[in-house]
Amino acid sequence: MTDYTPVEMMTVAASRVLSSTDVCFAGVGPPSEACNLARVLHAPDITLIYESGTIGARPCVLPLSVGDGELCETALNTVSVAEMFRYWLQGGNISIGFLGAAQIDRFGNINTTVIGDYRKPRVRLPGGGGAPEIAGSCDQVYIIVRQSTRGFVETLDFVTTYGHGKGGSSRQDVGFSTAGPTLLFTDLGIWAPDPETRELTVVSMHAGVSRDQMAATVGWPIRYADHVEETPIPSGKELEMLRDLHARTCAAHQIHK
């Protein structure tokens, strides 16, 4: 089956790396979508955690907010937001933090705060929310975001969430003991940090994507791994489950597309 969109490919690719033993802090939107797709496909026992305090949520439809009622109704347990950030996240009990981004740089640092100057912003974005500490305390971080020159920038306007800093040993130097961003999923490919420089490096490109397309959507000279894989296209099952999830979600939220 080749009838799929680049965004569907992105979500499917991200879902594939998740397994039933993962405990995953899921941001709303594409991260939550990839996590729930994994759950219905091949990771039925994955533990999904939302910053609203729900532990082990198993929603039938995708939540519109991190605090949707269905997350709590299907969860094993719901704790206060303070307990979530103190005991569960900072306590080191979460294996994967799954984040989105507005701006990202080559070292996986993220800006979701402002475009322009902080004190006189051109665009005031939502801010960090849980991301700065999710990226610090989870064993590793996955990022999912569509490529664009607006989003993939040479220099962030603001460092909201620390990735690999300026590369190399930056992350340890600042005091982190966690791995930081280990995978970046986009609509065009999959990136992973170089073992030495920690620069995000293209390790897989989705079927039919060219290096010209890659270059046109990224604001810095892209590094490629020695062997760049081609991401396997979505299977019929993967697409069917993803589209079912969307259809259920739209019906439940009364979204007419």
Partner: protein, 287 residues
């Protein structure tokens, strides 16, 4: 300790929310106290410092109506929809007035409530490493661990003059049950000098299990029965989130004139009793 007073919402706001006050309307996605915010707007409160982890539509409305002088927050979005356009207009264009920003991460703001609830002047946490925000927020500091030498982030306690929350129900003594996604409600109430709680109903028996999130009457000041008072957010067990209202807000808030018309029609010309019917409409729309 004094006994909570069961009074009307307009009396409660008039008594405890004064111009210039620091006010937390808490509720993390769930049980957001919209009715109390609308009453505050109707009473034309000014120069408020508004504290809330997720400003959401509730503060977009208050900021757009000129109630706020300062905003303390950690994530300012319309969840699942986009940005908060009235907040942006205030920050980017000072309309209707400039709003000072005191920005945190979720972890930091949650810890600031925990500090205050715990009667401490600060709380420590592991956070803000390598990022830009501490340069712009003097409420963020550092503490060295006397045992390990590790440098940790510190955040100053937030003690609101009044915290306002919505909850499912109270018993006849005024003890309040919050259940489901409980967010920071307990901490925000304990952090504040005064607390107002709006509830869906008052019942004979809370029917709360032993370890539920219960707020005893003697830590509350005012209790107001406002069915539907969390609409368009939700009250688990009573009505569901009105996602359509959240989506619709994006276009209402996009235009200053349309925003003002909407606020006139739906807030200024109403009173809190309208929330009951809104919640019913929301329930019928969804079930």
């Amino acid at each position: 300790m004094t006994r909570v007073a069961v009074i009307s919402l307009d009396e409660a706001i008039a008594e405890y929310v004064f111009d210039g006050a620091t006010v937390a309307f808490e509720g993390f996605s769930h049980l957001i106290p919209f009715a109390a915010a609308h009453e505050t707007i109707r009473q034309r409160r000014k120069n408020l410092t508004l504290v809330r982890m997720t400003p959401d539509l509730i503060y977009d409305q208050m900021i757009g109506m000129g109630c706020a002088q300062r905003l303390v927050f950690s994530y300012a979005g319309n969840p699942g929809v986009g940005l908060l356009r009235r907040l942006r207009d205030a920050v980017e264009n000072s309309w209707p007035n400039a709003v000072e920003i005191c920005e945190h991460s979720h972890a930091a703001l949650a810890n600031a409530y925990v500090a205050a609830a715990s009667g401490l002047p600060l709380m420590i946490f592991r956070g803000y490493r390598g990022v830009d925000l501490p340069r712009f927020n003097p409420e963020i500091g550092k503490v060295s661990c006397p045992f390990s030498g590790e440098e940790l982030a510190a955040v100053r306690a937030i003690n609101p003059d009044v915290t306002i929350i919505h909850a499912q129900r109270a018993d006849r003594s005024g003890n309040v049950l919050v259940e489901g996604i409980i967010g920071m409600q307990k901490e925000a109430v304990l952090a504040a000098r005064h607390a107002i709680v709006t509830v869906e109903e008052i019942v004979d028996d809370l029917a709360a299990h032993a370890n539920a999130c219960v707020l005893p009457h003697w830590i509350l000041d005012a209790l107001c029965v406002v069915p539907g008072g969390a609409h368009p957010s939700y009250a688990q067990g009573y009505y569901r989130r009105d996602n359509a209202a959240y989506r619709e807000w994006d276009s209402i808030a996009a235009d200053r004139h349309r925003f003002q018309e909407w606020m006139n029609e739906n807030v200024l010309e109403q009173d809190h009793t309208v929330f009951a019917s809104r919640a019913i409409a929301s329930r019928e729309g969804h079930d």
